[in-house]
């Protein structure tokens, strides 16, 4: 059966178009119920239970649920709970959800594709008996509501017919909708059972905690309460205002230090527009796209530079009078000189709310269900939520979603989503830092897992035919200990002409991840595997990352090989690429490989191969450094984790061996060779990686700091910098050169992915590696960029065909943006994880260690502790500090009486943990040596253990002390961003 859908649409040029589309109606769409005896179901269609047990105290008979669109949009948190099952979702709802929120659509899809949840999709829009046309003067919302009611009615009749004939228990359809009018129509006109989500969820008496997850929006008029905030403009008003140039659109950035301050980034302004005070902020939340009005110039002000924390004691009761904080803010702001464009927010164009991690604020009033939630991210305001399980949640990390922010409410209103786990618990804190760094870490959905090859995975004859057989060659892999996702393996052998053949073999991930599939989309969205100290969040499911793709020892695996012919001086004579089958002879650690190289008695193929590679790598490295590649440093540390408690028991700086450098050199060489190849074949579409040359101003702090030590550093080019860094050494301070390199690293910009056609050739330059062109090819298991590069290279050599999106410059540039964003976040998450573990390490101890002054600041010293790779601040002014320091800006020093601090000076500091702020524990640095009366603290001689038996199981720590350090991780993140 056929019907035509006719739309009237306006196109971009403002022309009105009449669009006609065919719309087929079918008779072969089934109801999916096990009790049905009418539809000729296939077994896999039978989703809904024959006799669904009722959990509701109101609706005791067996029933299926049907919902409208808003119920899914508002209450997805409730529907994600396993308690809710036997639900029919009609196509109308799915289409609308997809249109309104892609994030919620994805969550809904995950539920729908999980058969255990018993959610059935009924394609009512293409069913002959349930399709309806929009009537004249009917809004599309009303039409959709009617379509849902029509489907519900059809189901009710259909099921009645079945159960009557088969004499089975009757099944009721319950239509859940929060729209009173819709409910009335369902009950009165269609004689259906219908109720609000709240009523239904409250009737699930055995699952009272489900109520907390309800998103409750107040539709009641707000006029009876006194508004705290001015009203927002309507969409039309904002649109006109922006069009006429009176208002501006931009993204709102909240201040982390001061909750009454923020700024709006408007494209046409060079500076951010400053927004100060509660009314001017007018309910904007960090990340929202807002509409801002500029204040007259005489009202402009400047950033307050003060720290204001929202500490109100009784936020449950709204106060109208101007509060203390606002006063402080006004006073501090008016003192300053340099004014900055200032504005007020008049409307919200788009909310960018997400789910927030945090804790529940203890409430003095016992027994109330209204509570205040304090997010871990300081930029986010407190959120008002309702929960009946507060007592249980006080000691937990929880997630909350914001539902709305009405005018009369000081804080936004939200609902409890779920508890992550106890405060201070390692798992919980890992989860927090993943969420706060926007790292997608949910389990892979069934749809994604369906893309995996079935086991046992067998290499077919065809595969051998299509690939070069390298199984006989002595290939081995060299990785850190415990590595299960082995991306790369190597080999070398002597050629008859005296040259050396070197092969780099990379896991052939693009063989398994086909473009456009669910697994491909998921990997593209994740972009990278994220490594925490004790946890790995895979980009692709484990079957691939640790098994089928991983180039493990003594198993046959698919690889993408890059084979060179090199002469004795490591010059490339010829390069070729092909897909291959390999069988790695050994999966070695760096240490094992080093032992083999050093052991003169070993002379098998692997040993010879490794020795040759090692020699060549040395030449390659020397040549690279001569060209101006930088040897940079960042204080990297490793934790030794107690296998029982999972707590860090020892911290050590990572050790580097020759073999690390050996593997690195060949990976770099492969990446460069591949970059050249794909850029040559696809000059417009190659995905490359560049490291921009930092502006000279970035180096100023470095130049100043070094000048004091009597050195000059030449930063005019990478090569000069490299030479300078090599030459500046101090015999009395062996760590001096390392610090220099750490500082130099901080002056750099971030390396980024880009598409070759979007930049000019000179911009391709990779500053750190001094390479004119570079890409990522060698780690496709853990980086998505490498997968794209593999596909490009495969297309170059005819091993695979291209597809439209591979050569779509715009789409791939957007992809690069996502990859760059995720990489950055993964890096911050990794650092936050290190910080978290450092804090756990210091929880019950304090230690006096050697450190160095890294920077001298106006009111503080930045200290680096090499032993732990830690950096911290010693404040020189403020409350409780009696010593007077004199800051000398010219030579970057701080003086207190006869003691002077310069950059690079050695000091002794004591490290201990400050747990006063539950959500933001921080490591405290206190000066021990040199001793300054009234400032330094007395030495306690070496290590002092507060808790003498840290591993004793009887020692349970109090939850309040167990909190953690998202804060410091974030800080590290920000620092990098500014560069």
């Amino acid at each position: 059966m056929l019907t035509n859908k006719v739309f009237i649409r306006k196109n971009k040029r403002g022309n009105v178009l009449k669009i006609i589309r065919e719309h087929y109606l079918r008779t072969d769409l089934w109801c999916g119920s096990c009790c049905c005896i009418i539809c000729p179901h296939e077994k896999h269609d039978l989703i809904l239970a024959e006799n669904p047990p009722s959990k509701s105290s109101i609706f005791k008979e067996p029933h299926y649920l049907m919902v409208d669109t808003n119920v899914i949009l508002d209450q997805i948190d409730v529907f994600e709970e396993d308690v809710i099952s036997n639900v029919i979702i009609v196509q109308t709802v799915i289409d609308e959800v997809k249109h309104r929120s892609s994030a919620i659509y994805k969550r809904l899809r995950d539920i729908l594709t999980n058969p255990a949840r018993k959610f059935y999709t009924f394609v009512n829009e293409h069913h002959r008996d349930t399709y309806i046309e929009r009537e004249q003067k009917e809004s599309s919302n009303d039409r959709n509501d009617r379509a849902i009611r029509k489907a519900a009615l059809w189901y009710q009749n259909h099921l009645n017919k079945s159960t009557k004939e088969s004499k089975k228990p009757k099944i009721t359809i319950i239509l859940l909708t929060d729209d009173a009018e819709n409910r009335r129509k369902a009950q009165e006109e269609d004689k259906l059972v219908s109720c609000s989500v709240q009523t239904y969820v409250r009737s699930l008496s055995e699952h009272p905690y489900l109520q907390d997850k309800l998103c409750i929006k107040e539709y009641a008029s707000e006029s009876d309460k006194h508004p705290v905030y001015p009203p927002h403009l309507t969409v039309v008003q904002m649109h006109e205002g922006i069009k006429s140039g009176k208002l501006y659109q931009g993204s709102f950035v909240a201040s982390r230090e001061n909750f009454l301050e923020g700024s709006v980034n408007v494209e046409c302004f060079e500076k951010f527009i400053l927004v100060q005070g509660r009314e001017a902020l007018n309910r904007a939340i960090d990340g929202d796209t807002v509409c801002v009005e500029l204040l007259p110039e005489n009202e402009w002000t400047c950033p307050s530079e003060i720290v204001l924390e929202d500490n109100e004691n009784d936020p449950i009761v709204e106060t109208i009078e101007e509060d203390e904080n606002e006063k402080i803010l006004k006073e501090s702001a008016s003192k300053k000189q340099e004014k900055q464009p200032t504005g007020k927010i008049v409307g919200i164009i788009k909310r960018k709310w997400r789910q927030y991690c945090g804790i529940l604020k203890p409430n003095e009033i016992k027994g109330t269900s209204r509570h205040i939630f304090i997010p871990a991210e300081r930029k986010i305001p407190r959120v008002r939520i309702e929960t009946r399980q507060a007592e249980k949640l006080y000691s937990k990390r929880i997630i909350v979603a914001i539902d709305q922010w009405p005018r009369h409410s000081r804080y936004p209103q939200g609902h409890f989503v779920r508890a992550l786990g106890p405060l201070g618990d390692k798992e919980t804190e890992n989860e927090v830092l993943l969420i706060e760094h926007d790292v997608p870490h949910s389990k892979f959905s069934q749809e994604v897992l369906n893309c995996l090859p079935s086991l046992p995975w067998i290499i077919s004859e065809q595969d051998y035919k299509e690939r070069v057989d390298l199984r006989k060659i002595a290939i081995c892999s060299v990785d850190p200990p415990g590595c299960t996702d082995i991306d790369d393996a190597l080999h070398s052998r002597l050629l008859p002409n005296g040259n050396i053949e070197v092969g780099v073999h990379i896991a052939d991930v693009s063989h398994f991840i086909r473009p456009g599939t669910a697994i491909d989309k998921e990997a593209a969205s994740r972009a990278t595997t994220v490594y925490l100290v004790d946890k790995r969040i895979d980009m692709v499911p484990e079957l691939l990352s640790s098994n089928l793709c991983s180039l493990r020892g003594n198993v046959e695996r698919f690889a993408f090989s890059c084979i060179w012919e090199l002469d004795k001086n490591a010059n490339i004579i010829a390069t070729k690429f092909h897909k291959s089958v390999i069988k790695s002879k050994a999966a070695l650690t760096y240490e094992e490989a080093q032992l083999i190289i050093d052991d003169k008695n070993k002379n098998d193929d692997i040993a010879k191969s490794l020795r040759r590679l090692n020699e060549l790598a040395k030449i390659l490295k020397r040549r690279r450094t001569e060209n101006g590649a930088l040897v940079l440093a960042s204080p990297e540390i490793r934790f030794h984790i107690d296998s029982e408690t999972n707590d860090p028991i020892e911290v050590a700086v990572k050790q580097l061996r020759e073999t690390n450098s050996m593997v690195e050199e060949f990976m770099l060489l492969a990446n460069v060779s591949v970059a050249e190849k794909i850029e040559k074949e696809f000059p417009e579409h190659a995905m490359l990686r560049r490291h921009p040359i930092p502006p000279q101003t970035n180096f100023e702090p470095l130049i100043k700091a070094v000048r004091h030590q009597g050195f000059d550093i030449d930063t005019s080019s990478g090569k000069h910098l490299a030479i300078s860094l090599d030459n500046i050494v101090k015999d009395d301070n062996p760590y001096f050169n390392t610090m220099l390199r750490i500082l130099a690293t901080r002056c750099m910009l971030q390396a980024v992915y880009f598409i070759s056609g979007t930049l000019t050739r000179s911009e391709f330059f990779h500053y750190g590696l001094a390479a004119p062109i570079y890409t990522h090819f060698t780690s496709p298991i853990r980086r998505y960029a490498d997968i794209i590069v593999h596909r490009l290279l495969a297309a170059c050599i005819g091993a695979d065909s291209t597809y439209a999106d591979l050569l779509d410059k715009t789409k791939n540039s957007l992809l690069c943006n996502n990859l760059n964003y995720r990489n950055r976040m993964a890096q911050y998450a990794g650092r936050a994880s290190v910080a978290l573990n450092t804090h756990l390490f210091f929880r019950n101890r304090s230690e006096e260690v050697e450190g160095y002054v890294l920077f001298v600041r106006k009111n503080a010293l930045q200290i680096l502790v090499p032993k732990y790779g830690l950096e911290g601040t010693i404040y020189l002014s403020g409350k409780n500090i009696n010593a007077k320091f004199i800051y000398n800006e010219e030579n970057q020093s701080q003086q207190c009486e006869n003691i002077v601090f310069h950059s690079f000076d050695p000091v002794i500091v004591r490290l201990s943990l400050d747990s006063t702020n539950v959500q933001h524990e921080k490591l405290v640095f206190e000066l021990v040596k040199p001793f300054i009366e009234g400032f330094s603290i007395q030495s306690n001689d070496n290590v002092m253990e507060i808790d003498e038996t840290p591993q004793s199981p009887t020692m349970k720590r109090k939850p309040m002390e167990e909190a953690v350090a998202v804060g410091s991780g974030k800080k590290a993140g920000n620092k990098k961003k500014k560069k």
Partner: protein, 254 residues
């Protein structure tokens, strides 16, 4: 967000399954003043094809043909003014795209018309595309086949054309609508002689709108061929019922 070509429930945007054709309606002999004509509605693509000839070559054509004895076959294709989504088209005569379609049609049909029977004569095929909704070339080919048969031109076989596309998950989709075309899947258009020889189908024309993986080619090709065969059945049905009607009316007239 790009629309999915195939939903989780296995339905396409317009409600068809993966291997279903759109609705096809066709009639022969819709115009009286020409020697053969056909009307074809395929989905929402609407085409009228008309034939004039065989006849003596007009002077113009004869000149172009440099006085040879060959069969002269002219094809003209025209889009109606409001053929696309109600938006007024700029009427471009002899545009490159039209020219290409015309040449293709000419080659396709020259391969099946028994040319030796029509030496020294001229045949004009006029196509008017009244409304477009994807797979226009197919509808044009199918309509032309019907018109040629209506005009009684001798042909080796029916020529049927059909399109197929591919979802991101590698499922072949039969008969591509306009909406599916703009959603980004590759489109394969083929014109085939579904029943030449024993079982061999011979293909007269293939066109690909964009690149895709080679391994999928067979799948998508088979899908389109299956469509051609289905369409052949529909054309056959239309021709037979047309013949039946003609015979009936002859009988009643006598």
């Amino acid at each position: 967000m790009a629309q999915e070509l195939l939903s989780l429930q296995g339905l396409r945007i317009d409600g068809r399954r993966q291997n279903e054709l759109r609705q096809i309606q066709c009639r022969l002999g819709v115009l009286e003043r020409c020697d053969g004509s056909a009307y074809m509605l395929h989905g929402n693509t609407k085409v009228i094809a008309s034939i004039s000839g065989p006849k003596h070559p007009t002077k113009n054509s004869a000149n172009k043909n440099r006085g040879g004895d060959e069969f002269i076959f002219n094809v003209r294709v025209k889009f109606a003014t409001f053929s696309k989504n109600g938006e007024r088209q700029k009427v471009v005569k002899n545009s490159k795209k039209l020219g290409e379609i015309e040449i293709n049609l000419k080659n396709i049909f020259k391969s099946v018309i028994l040319v030796e029977k029509y030496e020294k004569s001229q045949l004009d095929l006029n196509i008017e595309i009244l409304q477009t909704d994807g797979s226009e070339i197919c509808t044009v080919v199918n309509a032309a086949t019907l018109a040629l048969i209506d005009a009684g031109i001798c042909m080796k076989e029916y020529i049927c054309a059909c399109t197929a596309s591919l979802t991101n998950d590698g499922v072949a989709l039969l008969d591509v609508s306009h909406l599916e075309e703009i959603c980004g899947g590759p489109t394969l258009t083929i014109a085939a002689l579904p029943r030449t020889g024993d079982h061999e189908q011979s293909v007269a024309y293939v066109e690909l709108s964009q690149k895709f993986y080679l391994k999928d080619l067979n799948k998508i090709f088979d899908c389109a061929l299956m469509g051609c065969e289905k369409i052949r059945g529909i054309l056959d049905e239309a021709i037979r019922s047309n013949a039946f009607e003609l015979v009936n009316s002859e009988l009643t007239n006598n």
